[in-house]
Point group: C2
Chain length 231, copies 2
DNA sequence: CTCAAGAAACAATCATGTTTGTTTTTGATG
DNA sequence: CATCAAAAACAAACATGATTGTTTCTTGAG
């Protein structure tokens, strides 16, 4: 797909009535088609990888002709950018959802984030993140989103663990630990560098470690050993 | 580069006098050129990513014409395969070297592996591993190497920590923890998902965790807190 | 009737594998 | 010892296939 510079400010032909307000049926259909294309792009990235995600691929996946697709996005790059934004918002939404519905204890949150990482959005994002290493244009788009993601992650966690804020340094460390370990596991499972049978014990280990780092929880929490995990 | 099936058993024109024994000057130069090409391939993967590593790229990087290159490797795929094998052996060599020269305490080994992950070989291997997710041919080559790597990793560690073998389950867990965390950190730093300032504290944290898991070391080892790391 | 949605055809670019040509090494022979 | 032919190293040109952006064309809604 290659993602080159896009003439800013002129998407192929954005309907003039923007936003969620009352639209004509045309602009509504247009929005639907745009969404369908963005979804198809993400599916393609997951299915064949970012590098092999071509415009014909995406068009086929969306059930449209390439011409129709370029009518909505004028450019392969524009499509990729839109997909990135959508992915980013997807991740943030999933965050908020998890924080709202789940139990707010360590185990539940670790498991919630782990489940999060099993979803296609993570695969797609990692594909993009790695491609950005050698693609300056991609990196320029992705970097601010990575920063925002990390900030939201931490902000969410701060809200969830108010009692932890006494030792902010240790808290940040625990957050980085969780992120690193879970994402590292996800990638290692993805690439076959780690056996899946290791996942459960590792999750337990991480939970123990987090509890051990928490100044408050370390007293009340059970000092679970790494081996009494249920199957 | 794309890596398709390669007619087995017929490299472009392997010199008939194989091995390291006495060769004619031609076959020696041939071996040199092959090595130069393999090196160029790895450099390309690191520089522009696996997806954008094309045959002209590699030839240019090696200072050869594409024709000359295809004389030695007949195929882009053959080159990739050779590069993979070379990378694998590089990683194993680095392993053995570290195990021979370094101090055999937890800190030294953690740092040694961390340094290992900063080298280009790791970047290249991760590029390949991720590409393999969507490339069946690549996966078929990489998978056995991944298995062997893990086995060597563990075997090396077993030899280094004989006192640990009482609780094999916990030992395996500690190994998986180290690998996951260090590789996860390396990738997260690579993709900008993690601030570099977090590296040092995280290394310390990992070392503490490993020590805490060791039945023997946990008594003798200093119960270092996560914050008394030197800068 | 006018404009947007959607489709199809087109030229340009690029990587790949193949084929053909040129130089250098090697070792065999007169 | 000089020479020559075969093979290998290296280079260049070619044809093919795929992707990209552009342009032209049809259809349906407002």
């Amino acid at each position: 797909m290659a993602l080159a510079a896009v003439r800013s400010g002129s998407p192929a032909r954005q309907p003039r009535e923007r936003g969620q307000g009352g639209q004509t049926q045309q602009s509504l259909k247009s929005a639907q088609t745009r969404a369908r294309l963005i979804d198809a792009t993400i599916r393609c990235i997951v299915k064949v990888g970012y590098a092999n995600t071509t415009t014909p691929q995406v068009a086929a996946e969306a059930g449209l002709s390439r011409g129709a697709m370029l009518h909505h996005f004028e450019n392969g790059s524009a499509l990729i950018k839109a997909a990135i934004v959508e992915l980013h918002e997807k991740r943030l939404r999933a965050f908020r959802r998890a924080a709202d519905t789940e139990n707010h204890d360590v185990d539940a949150l670790v498991r919630a984030y782990w489940r999060q990482l099993q979803k296609p959005a993570f695969v797609a994002f990692h594909e993009l993140a790695l491609a950005a290493r050698t693609h300056a244009d991609l990196a320029k788009i992705l970097q601010p989103l990575q920063v925002e993601y990390r900030e939201r992650f931490n902000a969410q966690a701060v809200a969830l663990f108010p009692e932890w804020q006494g030792d902010r340094e240790r808290f940040d460390l625990a957050m980085a630990l969780s992120q690193t370990m879970l994402e590292g596991m996800a990638i290692n499972v993805l690439t076959g560098a780690m056996a899946e049978s290791m996942v459960e014990p590792m999750l337990g280990l991480l939970e123990d470690q987090i509890r051990a780092m928490n100044p408050k929880l370390s007293k009340g929490g059970r000092a679970k050993s790494a081996k009494d995990q249920p199957d």
